[in-house]
């Protein structure tokens, strides 16, 4: 086969394969002169800024700066209004109520009893009965079952108290995290505004350079593209700022007028070693405290189940009238369960297994905290190192490079494009530093706050799923 036919055949196959492939989106065609380079053509124009149709989510007040919120103010509001904190308090109340209920003595039982109705007497046939009267029955609880039950549920209330503390940390930490996110979003927005001006300057510069024969059309277009991307970056930063503020107010638990936050992104806490942080975390973590408190509950549960089979004494007594003999009579009796077969062995073993499982749960939580701290600490340390060195070296060096190039431009030593590059690098470094500081602050908050966050997660109950609640009535 001649070579050109072979090539044509291949091209045909390729075309068919292309047609079968998913169709690509075709952008609208850009304006292109018919014969650039043959006679002077104006440079590709600087594109207009995104239109009003894209400014969907703008504050109703326009550009007016709303109220300014400080962190302490927001923490106070969250403490008063976050629903999960109220939930956590109600968990404690519920457990205290259970403890009360579990310790209540059983009520006596009154019975009206009529026996042998219709029995004949010597004087009468079909008497009302051999016995008509009232009988009072009382269960006497043995082996301190009620005390133990009450104690068990009081200890469960302790668990709820630790969980409520954890919830407070979750809420406060989350308010802090979102506060710093909002702060960083504001700073990012400010830098993005500067970067947009830099991109605008670069676009104008490319127009000027085109007029001097020092830039080609594709380079002008590239500057236009960079400008439009900078404009989109600014829109993104505006959106992100609003999103961060709104997320922050959702944690506070009340609707706040849209505004901005004031504070500092610079970490404040003296950094400590990993071992010191781990020791502090395991010693003071509300999650560990709740797990240990829960272990005490389970220990008490075992004790409670061990006395469960000790029979209670049920005493009965009453008085009535014997219509057969025609005299007043009394009844009395004592009953107790004889634990020959059921001595609660299964439940005791189940409670013991729960206790042993909770011991492992304490260890699991400790190791899980260590695992989470390892990640958080690494990110904290890395961010801290970056933030420190950006502050100490990279930002001053970038700024000095920019200043020196400006001075050189003033002295006619460098091209403006070199200055703009250094200008962009400086603001880009500032952008990175905002990220560094936010990362450092975020992990500082988490480490200081025992790695607890997510302040809108429903407050945890002290009773884990599948736990023994052997009867509807707490015991």
């Amino acid at each position: 086969m001649p070579r050109f036919l072979h090539v044509a055949k291949l091209a045909l196959f390729a075309t068919a394969a292309g047609a079968a492939a998913q169709e690509q989106l075709a952008p609208p065609a850009a304006l292109r002169p018919s014969a650039p380079g043959k006679s002077f053509t104006a440079p590709p124009a600087i594109p207009p800024a995104p239109g009003e149709e894209l400014k969907i989510d703008v504050p109703q007040e326009g550009d007016a700066v709303g109220p300014v919120y400080a962190l302490d103010e927001l923490l106070t509001l969250a403490a008063q209004n976050n629903p999960t904190l109220r939930q956590a308090q109600l968990h404690i109340s519920a457990d205290l109520a259970k403890a009360q209920q579990a310790g209540l003595y059983p009520n006596p039982v009154f019975t009206y009893q009529a026996e042998q109705i219709g029995v004949d007497s010597e004087t009468d046939t079909d008497t009302p009965g051999e016995f008509h009267g009232g009988v009072l029955e009382q269960r006497f609880v043995t082996a301190g079952k009620l005390r133990l039950s009450r104690e068990k549920y009081l200890r469960r209330a302790h668990v709820s108290e630790h969980l409520a503390t954890a919830q407070q940390f979750r809420v406060c930490n989350d308010v802090r995290l979102h506060f710093y996110r909002a702060l960083a979003a504001g700073e990012t927005l400010a830098v993005r505004r500067e970067l947009l001006k830099s991109a605008e300057d670069a676009a104008v510069t490319s127009q000027e350079a085109y007029n001097m024969g020092q830039a080609r059309r594709p380079e002008v277009r590239r500057a236009n593209i960079t400008l439009q991307r900078a404009r989109l970056d600014l829109l993104s930063a505006e959106n992100a700022q609003r999103e961060s503020f709104r997320a922050l107010t959702s944690l506070v638990g009340v609707t706040l007028a849209e505004g901005r936050v004031k504070g500092s992104l610079t970490p404040e806490r003296e950094p400590a070693s990993f071992d010191a942080e781990l020791g502090r975390l395991l010693a003071n973590s509300p999650e560990v405290a709740a797990a240990r408190a829960k272990l005490a509950v389970d220990r008490m549960t075992v004790q409670r189940e061990r006395v469960e089979w000790t029979p209670d004494i049920v005493a009965r007594g009453g008085a009535g009238y014997n219509f057969e003999s025609g005299e007043t009579v009394a009844v009395a009796g004592v009953a107790l369960e004889v634990p020959i077969y059921d001595r609660n062995q299964g439940t005791i073993r189940q409670a013991q297994a729960d206790y042993a499982r909770q011991q492992q749960e304490v260890r699991r939580i400790e190791f899980q905290l260590q695992n989470r701290l390892a990640t958080a600490y690494q990110q904290y340390l890395t961010a801290l190192q970056h933030a420190h060195e950006y502050e100490r070296v990279i930002l001053p060096e970038s700024k000095a490079a920019y200043a020196e190039l400006l001075e050189s431009y003033k002295r006619d030593r460098v091209d403006w494009s070199d200055v703009l590059m250094a200008q962009h690098d400086y603001f880009d470094a500032k952008l990175t530093q905002v990220e560094n500081l936010l990362e450092a602050r975020t992990h500082e908050v988490l480490i200081a706050g025992y790695l607890l966050h997510d302040g809108l997660m429903a407050a945890e109950d002290a009773t884990p799923p599948g736990h023994i609640d052997a009867t509807p009535r707490p015991r």
Partner: protein, 506 residues
């Protein structure tokens, strides 16, 4: 051996001149210098005037008495060519200078370059050269790090006479090896200095003795024979005067060494690896810091030019005059082969000798005609400098806030493709510093003259005798622009002259 340019200068003036040299070329604040400096800014619109200032000098003393003016149609004191190209006097070809030949040859003067002294030892002229690092003032306030000799860039000028026995002890004060080449000499092989081809390197701290008897005469030079050291500036004049002076005798004998360097902005160390150049020097200085060549009206002037740039040639153009090319670095050219030119292309490591009669008074530009050599460090004319109402100072004021840039440059010039071609943004403070406009050689030049001279440019000042005396030999106050305007008054059309106006710059 060169002598001061004005041997009859009074002692006080001589003190000022040597003080200026000692201070790196900055003239001590003489009354004349200060007057020049303080009044040198462009006049405000209110200052603009069409009448000339009051006359200076004494027109009746503008020419030396008894000097012959006319030579077969060529005039010593007026622009002219002569009656016939075949005449010996066409374009002043063999018109002698004004000096008395009995007074000996005119001194060789390389402005701003020191002369190397010698001692006679056993009938031998012994010179001492040290290869050294140099901090050279290319411009006032710009101290550049290069290499040279005896602390100078270019190195000090060696002058001997044909037939002299000469010894040069070269000591290497550099931290690296060097060699010394005597460019153009037909010397013994062991003293040629062509690196290890002929000798061992001169190690740091060591010396090497070179010894010659010169049978040749002419324009020579010495330089390191380590390539990058050459690019780093290591060169100097080696002038061998003929036993009997060349004919016709000249009144002035100047030497100019042209060099290129690449020095990055915010740097002072020349990058000798570069193959493009952004600093241009003549005798170690860049315009407008290059000293003007000041001559008297009617004098015969020789200018020797050496191109010691690393890579680029220089077409040297002299305004207002036509010169004869009378020799090159090889030797004096036979008169029959002299060529009249106004632009001479001088290649790397070539020298040219140009001679002309200074018959056209004025401050004439002499420069390399390569446009990229007519200014230092060319930059693209974009950015705030070319935007109406904008300045880079706004950017410097707050580095954390970028000034707004209008999305369209409102300068209507941008409607014209190619605009702007004019370089903006000169450092006016430096241009008008006393070191630039306060020097004696510049007194009375047109206001704002430093704005016109950049890179490889200098002024050749042709002054009537009385004005030469006023500028170079007295301490009288000289008003900025007054000498130039006096020349316009005497030789031009005063009614059609507009004084200097304020120039715009970014």
């Amino acid at each position: 051996m060169s002598t001061p340019q004005n041997s009859n200068r009074p002692p006080r003036r001589e003190f000022f001149r040597t003080s200026a040299l000692a201070a790196g070329g900055a003239l001590a604040a003489t009354s004349a210098g200060m007057a020049q400096h303080s009044g040198h800014g462009m006049p405000d619109d209110g200052e603009r005037r069409h009448e000339l200032p009051k006359p200076v000098g004494d027109p009746s003393a503008g020419r030396p008495a008894g000097a012959q003016d006319e030579y077969e149609g060529f005039h010593r004191f007026a622009p002219s060519r002569g009656n016939s190209p075949d005449s010996d006097f066409y374009l002043g070809k063999l018109v002698p200078g004004l000096r008395d030949p009995a007074a000996g040859r005119a001194p060789f003067v390389a402005p701003d370059v020191p002369s190397l002294p010698y001692e006679i030892k056993d009938g031998v002229k012994e010179f001492h050269l040290h290869a050294t690092p140099v901090e050279a003032d290319f411009l006032p306030g710009y101290k550049m790090n290069v290499y040279g000799y005896n602390g100078s860039l270019p190195g000090p000028t060696i002058e001997v006479t044909q037939g002299d026995r000469v010894r040069v002890i070269v000591t290497n004060d550099l931290p690296e090896e060097t060699f010394m080449h005597w460019h153009g000499f037909e010397c013994g092989i062991q003293y040629d200095g062509a690196a290890s081809l002929v000798q061992n390197p001169i190690k740091p701290g060591e010396s090497f003795r070179y010894e010659f008897t010169f049978h040749e005469e002419g324009t020579f030079f010495y330089h390191s024979h380590v390539a990058m050291q050459e690019a780093f500036g290591m060169v100097g004049w080696f002038i061998v005067h003929p036993r009997s002076d060349w004919d016709p005798p000249v009144d002035r004998d100047f030497g100019l060494i042209f060099q290129n360097f690449f020095i990055e902005p915010t740097q002072t160390v020349a990058d000798s690896w570069r193959m493009d150049w952004n600093w241009h020097t003549i005798n170690g200085r860049s315009a407008p810091y290059i000293s003007p060549l000041v001559v008297k009206h009617g004098e015969r002037v020789r200018i020797r030019i050496l191109n010691f740039s690393p890579m680029q040639h220089h077409p040297i153009h002299l305004h207002g005059h036509t010169f004869w090319v009378t020799g090159h670095e090889g030797a004096r050219t036979p008169k029959s082969a002299w060529i009249p030119r106004n632009t001479e292309l001088i290649a790397v490591a070539q020298a040219a000798e140009l001679e002309f009669i200074a018959n056209n008074p004025g401050d004439w530009m002499m420069h390399c005609h390569m446009v990229h050599h007519m200014m230092n460090h060319m930059t693209k004319q974009v950015g705030p400098r070319v935007r109406p109402g904008q300045s880079v100072d706004a950017y410097l004021k707050d580095l954390d806030r970028v000034p707004e840039a209008a999305l369209r440059n409102t300068d209507p010039g941008f409607a014209v493709p190619g605009y702007p071609q004019d370089m903006q943004g000169m450092n006016m403070g430096m241009m008008m510093s006393d070191a630039i406009v306060g020097r004696r050689e510049t007194l009375g030049m047109r206001k704002g003259w430093p704005m016109a001279l950049m890179g490889l440019m200098l002024a050749v000042r042709v002054l009537p005798e009385d004005l030469y005396h006023l500028v170079m030999e007295t301490d009288e106050h000289v008003e900025p622009g007054s000498v130039f305007e006096e020349i316009v008054r005497r030789f031009g059309d005063p009614s059609d002259y507009t004084p200097a106006i304020r120039m715009s710059h970014g």
